[in-house]
Amino acid sequence: MEGNQSYLSHINPSVKLIAHLAVMFLLMMISEPGKTLLIWTAFLFLGMIGGGWTIKYLLKVMPPYFVFFVLTFWMLAAFGKGETEIWQWAWFRITAESASNGLTIATRMLAFVTIGLLFTSTTCIHPFMMSLVHQLKVPPKWAYGFMAGFRCIPLFQKELAHLKEAHRIRGCRHNGSWQTFKRYAVPLLTNAVRKSERMALAMEVRGFTGDRDRSYYKKTIVTKKDYYYASLLVGSTVFILIF
């Protein structure tokens, strides 16, 4: 959630979120692999034209999802029900129905990931939260709390890395057991509680009450282009769905 300087990063985050969620919802109603594939590729192009994605970026982030894609497809295709048999070997039996079904679900998964990624990679956390407060009437308490929590993620990552090193030097092998988990979890959690208490206190003594009675340094607004973007996305998805 860093945001970039692309065209899509200037779309109002709340509108963008609703539009993306709407497309995801519509996707669930499409059960033809071809149409799902079309929507997925459309979003890839959208990301490359308006979202600042490059081929290099896609090659970096997409591979794990492709593995997942193949696995999902294989599971549903080889073990699914169906009449028209295409291929059979040992206990694998692929039918036309199961293959189509597998392809739909797998592509849908891929499209979901892409749509979600397009949102997170073009949205900065601060305007997103501000937009939730202004457009979707989320209480500031939640929005600011979330932002404070977001700051903690890198702190925790660093702390976990330190813990691992410190345990290694003591000859502790991490073997994925319950014991190991506890050894990491206890200090991490105690520190998390301590840190969050301190953060909450620091915010409160700076006059934060969590209610809406405050001014705003950055205010997000909805403009025409946000509506265009939302209607373009939802409109074309509906179009694909119907025809």
Partner: protein, 538 residues
């Protein structure tokens, strides 16, 4: 009947679940514009007193309270941990957060943010990421955020405890300016007096039981309550109450004599002993987050040597220590430990010979009690039960934790945790001990205990390698100092040779110990006579 001044009368505070009050029967008053230091041993309730006066207790924290407290409406509080005071990603948003809470109109914000950044001396772009700031800069930003509240009283809870000495000086300088220019009331808890006592109006001393032991101006407090300060483990100021010019001009001043004597001692000790090599580094490069930060290093560590590693924050001290202990991968180069390439050492074997003490002792704790924690490495080595017991108990005795042997490590005090974390690395009689800023934020007493322990080990032949910011420690204990600057090894030799050569220290973040600065200043003061002053006293 109480006046409208900030203060408390017969105040006692007790936390739920504790059978002793932290503060007992305290009566204090604070005048507008005053700068007050509250000092005392760790656990004496000085932070609690601050919390009560600032209104954190009872508003945000629960505690049983007796007595009267008069508070001010608009207060600002600066805490010690720079990282847990922010909730935003960027510098301007963070200050704006304070302004938003005060309902400052949007149009006025940018100008105010710029003004606040100027007051605290933080000259960065408005949209700088907070993660990219150093600890000292973060603390200045936190101060700007607090000042944005336009507080009548500014409370500071050990604002420099997590900063290096240079950043500490800078923060104190900013605070001094604020107190003078804006007639701001400052109430500050500190465990280091150097840098703030010079401009404080008043010092309040608390004792272990949470009672006020002294309340006086700094000068008389230092004289009258010397033993209390000593007992509390507070770092005494090196220079105060004397004036720098005064001691430079008067070579018979008691402090001048002391400094000259100290300089002479260090000079006499600067001999280097030949030692057999324990660890050798050839053409080593080290990186941090895929950026090379140290290039082409060559040095060797001898057996039983005490080596200090110094350099600015982010100069790669910690990374280097980790690379040498095989906790982190190197970029290129060779490291030979006991004449065998580090890569060829098996981890289980290597860590019988290498100990590593981390910046935060809590990271190292694995077991439930202090005893188990110390005995852990012995059990890993499958030692005989009786041997483990005798060795562990002896070690706990040595580090002064024997009476706490059944306590959970996480429940120890800050200083005890530090000692335990060192003890866990001593059971196997490791050949080399790496320490990453072990005295950071510790009071004087704990630091002294710790150093004595390490000195003891060094005399038995353990090599000590320590990354630190404390130049007095470097000067007093180490046989050798490695100074890193701009990715290279800028100095490798006896600390005397580094500190007594001011050209070397120019444009670095290193403040040499006082006696070197003194000798240097005397030389400058008397270009011809300087030599004679020195020769008379030696």
């Amino acid at each position: 009947m109480m006046s409208s001044l900030l203060g408390c009368k017969n105040l006692s505070v007790q936390f739920y679940g504790q059978n002793q009050p932290v503060l007992k029967n305290i009566t204090l008053q604070f005048h507008p514009g005053e700068t007050v230091l509250i000092v005392g041993p760790s656990g004496c309730g000085k932070s609690t007193l601050l919390a009560v006066l600032a209104g954190i207790i009872p508003e945000h924290q629960e505690a049983k309270m007796k007595g009267e407290v008069t508070r001010k409406n608009r207060v600002g509080i600066l805490f010690q941990d720079p990282d847990t005071q922010f909730c935003m990603q960027h510098v301007d948003d963070e200050i704006a957060f304070s302004l938003e809470n005060k309902r400052v109109p949007k149009e006025e914000m940018t100008a105010k943010i710029k003004e606040l950044l100027k007051i605290v001396g933080l000259e960065v772009e408005l949209d700088t990421r907070i993660d990219a700031l150093s600890g000292g800069m973060k603390q200045r930003l936190a101060l700007a955020c607090v000042l944005a509240m336009e507080p009548e009283v500014l409370f500071l809870d050990e604002p420099t405890a997590q900063l290096d000495p240079v950043s500490r000086r800078e923060i104190f300088a900013v605070l001094k300016q604020i107190s003078e220019r804006k007639k701001q009331t400052l109430i500050m808890v500190e465990h280091v007096l150097d840098g703030c006592i010079e401009w404080a109006d008043r010092i309040i001393l608390l004792n272990k039981e949470g009672k006020v032991m002294g309340d006086a101006d700094p000068n008389s407090a230092l004289c009258e309550f010397e033993s209390v300060i000593e007992e509390a483990g507070i770092w005494r100021p090196e220079l105060y109450p004397y004036d720098w010019d005064e001691i430079i001009n008067d070579s018979y001043h008691p402090l001048s004599k002391q400094l000259k004597e100290r300089y002479r001692q260090r000079k006499a000790n600067k001999v280097q002993v030949e030692r057999s090599t324990l660890l050798e580094v050839q053409n080593l490069s080290v990186s941090y987050e895929s950026k090379e930060i140290l290039h082409n290093l060559n040095f060797r560590f001898g057996k039983g040597e005490w080596i200090s590693i110094i350099g600015k924050n982010g100069s790669g001290k910690s990374s280097l220590l980790k690379v040498l202990a095989k906790l982190k991968r190197r970029n290129k180069g060779n490291i030979l430990f006991k004449e065998l390439e580090l890569k060829n050492w098996k981890e289980s074997q290597l860590y019988q010979h290498i100990g590593f003490v981390f910046q935060n002792p809590e990271w190292q704790f694995i077991t439930q009690t202090v005893y188990e924690e110390t005995a852990f490495s012995g059990e890993q080595q499958k030692w005989h039960k009786e041997m483990i017991e005798t060795k562990t108990l002896a070690l706990l005795e040595e580090v002064g934790l024997l009476q706490h042997k059944d306590v959970n490590p996480f429940n120890l005090s800050f200083g005890q945790k530090r000692r335990l974390s060192v003890a866990t690395m001593l059971l196997l009689n490791q050949d080399i001990l790496f320490l990453d800023e072990p005295t950071f934020g510790q009071d004087k007493r704990t630091t002294e205990k710790l150093l004595k322990m390490l000195k003891n080990r060094q005399e038995q032949g353990t090599t000590i390698v320590m990354a630190t910011h404390d130049m007095n420690l470097v000067d007093q204990y180490s046989d050798r100092v490695l100074f890193f600057k701009e990715g290279a090894l800028a100095f490798d030799g006896h600390p005397f040779l580094l500190f007594s050569n001011p050209q070397q220290l120019n444009e670095t973040a290193i403040i040499p110990p006082l006696h070197y600065a003194y000798i240097e200043a005397v030389k400058e003061e008397l270009p011809n006579g300087g030599q004679s002053v020195l020769s008379v006293s030696y």
